[in-house]
Amino acid sequence: MVEVDTSVNLSGLHLDNPVIPASGTFGYGNEYKDFYDINILGSFSFKGTTREPRFGNPTPRIAECTEGMINAVGLQNPGIDAVIAEELPRLRTFFHKPVIANISGFSIEEYAYCCERIDKEEQVGIIEVNVSCPNVRHGGMSFGTSPEAAAEVTRAVKAVTTKPVYIKLSPNVTDIVAIARACEEAGADGICLINTLLGMRIDVRRRKPVIANVMGGFSGAAVFPVAVRMVYQVSKACSVPVMGCGGVRSARDVIEMMMAGATAVQVGAENLRNPYASKQIVEALPVEMERLGIERLSDIIGIVG
């Protein structure tokens, strides 16, 4: 077997492989370390973190769909203070690679405040700014659905950190390219996409929405083609790297998303149905590469014209 190279370079960060569990599906790493040694991952993106602790939305928060699921968790997290005081020190004991810090907020000031705090954390390799959560009002997605607002968040965050800043975008927009470009022009070091698609299910027996919050974010295998398309569009239009996310469940999906233009690939909902999913994808990557005649994974980034 030929020795294949799965490593990628993400804004100066060397990753052993491009596989990154997506924010909101991997907590702060702790739940998964009971299943496997998570150091096998390229990195992971921790749970969307806000200034204040948040309980999130009422339950039920989950609805099953064909080849996917809807969640309306609503940014439940312990708040930036507890993440810095408790989660990151604990993470250091079992994860020895740079982590991606997913930061959410309800105002420009909150984004900037949290990023400034997390900037001082050595283990944070990249800050991923979530302007695309569909499950909270007056925040999250509202910043990611207009080029001006997304650019404003980007500028505010870039002003307070020296770490690479990736803006995580919502697919629930008419022109993803315009928003990605606005972020790039405002100084974003990269773009992450896609967050979940706004969706809804109805319990036809009860004649009520399944989700207490009525609507939620649809993710899972079914959204993969949408994600590939948006990664393709954005990576062609922007010169900064793209982290692809959405419906990835296999090493072959990782390769497909990289061919579309992704430098690294996030795995989301699949972790929830199979807690070993990300590990299995990492392990399958060299086999799949050999099968497809790929020696160096970074060679295929955006290879589809």
Partner: protein, 246 residues
């Protein structure tokens, strides 16, 4: 720790019109407490189905489940010899190391199964166990004889009065006045709440919530307690009476 493994179906049979019992063979070493659950992957279904463990031994586990939707309907069609992918050892389960000599176990409908192994363990520890089972009708009753065979005293309530005390499990408490000093309960939310209001003693209650992953990864099943936010799948499904915010 958790175990993800493939289990072989030994038997799968109806106990009532809608409640089925499935016995699976495989590794049970990660099931450490009564009231824990397994999360079952089903062909063609995106999310796993969490089902509480009724009983287990070194090489088999027994699940009792109610057919409530497409997933459980699919389970009911599976035959002995077929295989299922399970995550086991999920949830905290009931604590038996508590100061009780006369525990009362209260189950409502499909909340009854996790109490079975609990009763077995409590009886093995020399406790005097009384079990109160609540169902809608006599047709829906299951496992009353199995609890009796373990050596527990069994009291039944049916909503329509077709067997035992007419009414709810709380009516059994007021009419039969069982002698108990602690309680364990699993069942529908209104039952759990009514029980907590009806009894002066302390106890543990197992809750149900729609789950994404079953192991704490998605925060889909969170609830607020007096001791902070908890995930029903991870810090639950069993909560102490004293910490519950109704």
């Amino acid at each position: 720790m958790y175990k993800n493994d493939i289990y072989e179906i030994r038997s799968n049979e109806p106990l009532t019109a809608t409640v089925w019992r499935m016995v699976l063979a495989g590794d049970t070493q990660w099931i450490t407490a009564p009231g824990q659950f397994v999360n079952i992957a089903l062909e063609g279904r995106y999310l796993r189905r969490p089902i509480s463990v009724c009983d287990w031994d070194a090489g088999t586990l027994t699940l009792i489940y109610k057919v409530v939707g497409d997933g459980t309907e699919q389970m009911s069609r599976m035959r002995p010899g077929e295989h299922l992918d399970l995550l086991t050892g999920l949830g905290n389960g009931f604590r038996t190391a508590v100061d009780t000599q006369r525990p009362l176990l209260v189950g409502g409908g499909v909340g009854v199964p996790p109490l079975y192994n609990l009763a077995r363990q409590l009886l093995a520890q020399g406790r005097k166990v009384t079990v109160v089972l609540g169902f809608n009708t006599a047709d829906e009753i299951f496992y009353a004889d199995e609890f009796r065979a373990l050596g527990a005293e069994v009291l039944v309530a049916t909503a329509d009065g077709s067997c035992g005390t007419r009414g709810f499990v709380t009516d059994v408490l007021t009419q039969c006045r069982p002698d108990y000093d602690y309680f364990y309960a699993c069942g529908p939310l209104p039952m759990l709440r009514a029980l907590c209001e009806a009894t002066p003693v302390s106890g543990q209650l197992s809750f149900e919530e729609r789950m994404g992953c079953g192991f704490g990864g998605c925060m889909g099943c969170s609830c607020k307690t007096k001791y902070g936010n908890k995930r029903i799948c991870k810090e639950g499904p069993v909560l102490e009476k004293e910490e519950i915010i109704w």
